[in-house]
Amino acid sequence: MIKLENISKTYRTRSVETLALDKINLEVKRGEFVSVMGPSGCGKSTLLNIIGLLDEPDQGKLQLEGNLITGYEDKKTAGMRNHLVGFIFQSFHLIKELDVYDNVELPLLYRKMPAAERKQRVVASLEQVGLSNRMYHYPSQMSGGQCQRAAIARAITGQPRIILADEPTGNLDSKVGHEVMGILTDLNKAGTTIVMVTHDESLAKETHRIIRLFDGRLVG
């Protein structure tokens, strides 16, 4: 469950002030698959970053899985990111120095978990995205679709309740995009809450609900 009340965020640079989010009220129920749409610069990524505790709102209340976020103390937010959410990015953001296996294991390394269990989880999530035959490939040795599947495996290996996907198909052609969408739909069917930013109307239609943002405000 994700709940935002009156969330605002302003970016300040020396010359400009950008109101990236303006009093957003939003609730995403557990198990929901929601897509976020809107023109470039309207605040979609900012919204996702705030939900994922990567960024701090100036105002408003945020609740994640029943936890009201009161402070943004480093250790606490890191722990919540680790346990509650899994991120998927448009440009994958795999660590290029590490192979697929090590990339997928990453979230588990920030938990106290025995090596055997980590291994089992990594293998299971790679199987789930159909990438068990590429375990020891490096990101540079794989196609965009394979990279994104590895990134999804990384996002789910910690078994988070929530997945935040920022244009996960943006760098992929439409066929591969649909494959990725298929994986996300399966995850959602298994109970994971998903918030996905997309520019693709047809993919958005496959989700339960479309949220539209315009200039930092919810519309429609």
């Binding site: 990524s45 970053n49 994922g52 990567l54 960024d55 480093d74 250790k75 890191a78 722990g79 990111r81 680790n82 346990h83 899994g86 991120f87 990015f89 448009q90 440009s91 994958f92 953001h93 795999l94 660590i95 120095e97 590490l98 090590d102 294991e105 990453l106 979230p107 390394l109 920030y110 938990r111 965009g144 990384r154 910690g158 920022d166 244009e167 943006g170 760098n171």
Partner: protein, 421 residues
């Protein structure tokens, strides 16, 4: 987790070869110099060759007489013959006591001019210092008492005077108007030796000190050798008691003697009058501070390199933060990486120091104690390993901690923008 850090470290290090080379270069040269310096120092304090029992020795070599009143004067010197013979050689708490003096003699051989040290010693000298005799034997107490004109020479003196001749016992050499018969040939002492010169050894009774006899001041050093360090306090007390007695008996001069002191104290205090009372530890701390300053400069350099490279790691840091790394674990990671780098540099530095000492040996000298620089020496033990390790840690932490803090504070969102890969 460390495995993951190690993988990243190796990848980053091998991908950015120039950086890795530059940093390893700085670290290993620094550690090399630290090692050469501390090994030489260690070798001198520990002793080797004839000085192998140096740890069991105390030296009395620095006596001071002061006169009060109108004609105030201070004299410092080694010890007089009578002070040694009548008092210090009778110290009972030491296992063996020896006296000796050292000087230089100049001579011309086959048209070439030489200057060599010589030592005038008693017979106990050979029991205190463990020379290896290649030929013959040391001179005895009888030789001392009878003022026999005998001499023990080192291998290099033998080669100088007798060339290829192997058996030189009974042959004579001329030293300072004296015709001396060779009774023994010893291996050359280590060049790091502070107490034994590489030359010839003559019974001290054969030739008295040419500048006359005084009651207290003179040219001699007394060395007390113990079987265990437990004897040291008693030796110290006995020596100081002698000095107190002599001082009381003499109403013109105030007599003081520093020590007897061990090799470390001897090197740290030396002859500097102003440091008569300075603690050897204090002087040693100065060395440590110089060492730290020496490490400090290249470490600042590496710190600057590290700062310059922070941005390269931005994406990785952002990804790690997204998946649960807190600032502490990121700091840990980068400090770990930097320590790995410095430890590798340290190992290279240690190897380099071995190579340098082996290749250049005694032609390389470092300014360590007293009067002039000392030829480098090789001595690796747990202490030296500790010095190397601690130097690496200081280097690594100093150059790594601040950049690591900066890295761990980076905001992840700016590195997670979408767009083209």
């Amino acid at each position: 987790m460390l495995k993951n850090y190690l993988k990243i470290f190796l990848k980053v290090a091998t991908q950015n070869k120039l950086f890795t080379f530059l940093s390893l270069f700085g670290i290993s040269l620094t550690i090399m110099f630290v090692m050469i310096f501390s090994m030489t120092f260690n070798k001198m304090v520990k002793g080797s060759g004839p000085e192998k029992d140096l740890k069991m020795m105390l030296f009395a070599d620095h006596v001071k007489t002061e006169s009060q009143g109108k004609n105030r004067s201070i004299n410092t010197n080694f010890l007089s013959q009578s002070l040694c013979e009548n008092y210090f050689k009778k110290v009972t708490s030491a296992t063996i006591t020896s006296m000796y003096r050292t000087d230089q003699w100049a001579f011309i051989l086959n048209g070439k001019h030489y200057e060599k040290p010589y030592m005038m010693t008693d017979a106990e000298f050979w029991k205190v210092f463990g020379f290896h005799f290649l030929q013959g034997r040391p001179y005895t107490n009888e030789d001392i008492v009878n003022q026999n004109h005998c001499v023990v020479i080192t291998q290099s003196i033998r080669n100088l005077f007798f060339g290829d001749e192997k058996d030189v016992l009974g042959k004579t050499i001329r030293v300072l108007q004296l015709q001396l018969t060779v009774t023994g040939v010893v291996e050359d002492p280590s060049s790091a030796s502070q107490n034994i010169s590489d030359g010839i050894f003559i019974p001290y009774t054969v030739m008295p000190w040419p500048y006359g006899q005084e009651p207290i001041l003179g040219p001699y050093t007394v060395v007390f050798k113990a079987n265990s360090k437990a004897q040291f306090p008693a030796i110290y007390k006995e020596v100081q008691d002698i000095i107190t007695r002599l001082d009381r008996a003499d109403d013109q001069w105030t007599i003081t003697l520093q020590g007897p002191r061990n090799q470390f104290e001897k090197m740290m205090i030396g002859w500097d009058m102003s440091e008569d009372i300075a603690s050897p530890i204090g002087k040693f701390m100065k060395y440590i501070l110089w060492g730290l300053a020496f490490i400090f400069l290249p470490a600042v350099n590496l710190m600057a390199l590290n700062f310059a490279r922070i941005r390269e790691r931005g994406e990785e840091i952002a990804v790690r933060k997204s998946f649960g790394a807190n600032s502490g674990s990121l700091r840990g990671q980068f400090i770990f990486e930097n320590l790995m780098l410095t430890l590798i540099g340290g190992v290279i530095g240690i190897i380099l120091s071995f190579v340098m000492i082996t290749l250049l040996g005694s032609s390389l000298s470092v300014p360590i104690s007293g009067f002039d620089s000392v030829p480098v020496g090789f001595s690796f033990d747990l202490k030296i390993f500790g010095v190397a390790l601690i130097s690496c840690l200081i280097f690594g932490l100093f150059s790594g901690v601040l950049p690591a803090i900066r890295m761990s504070k980076m905001k992840p969102v700016i590195y997670l923008k979408g767009g083209e890969k």
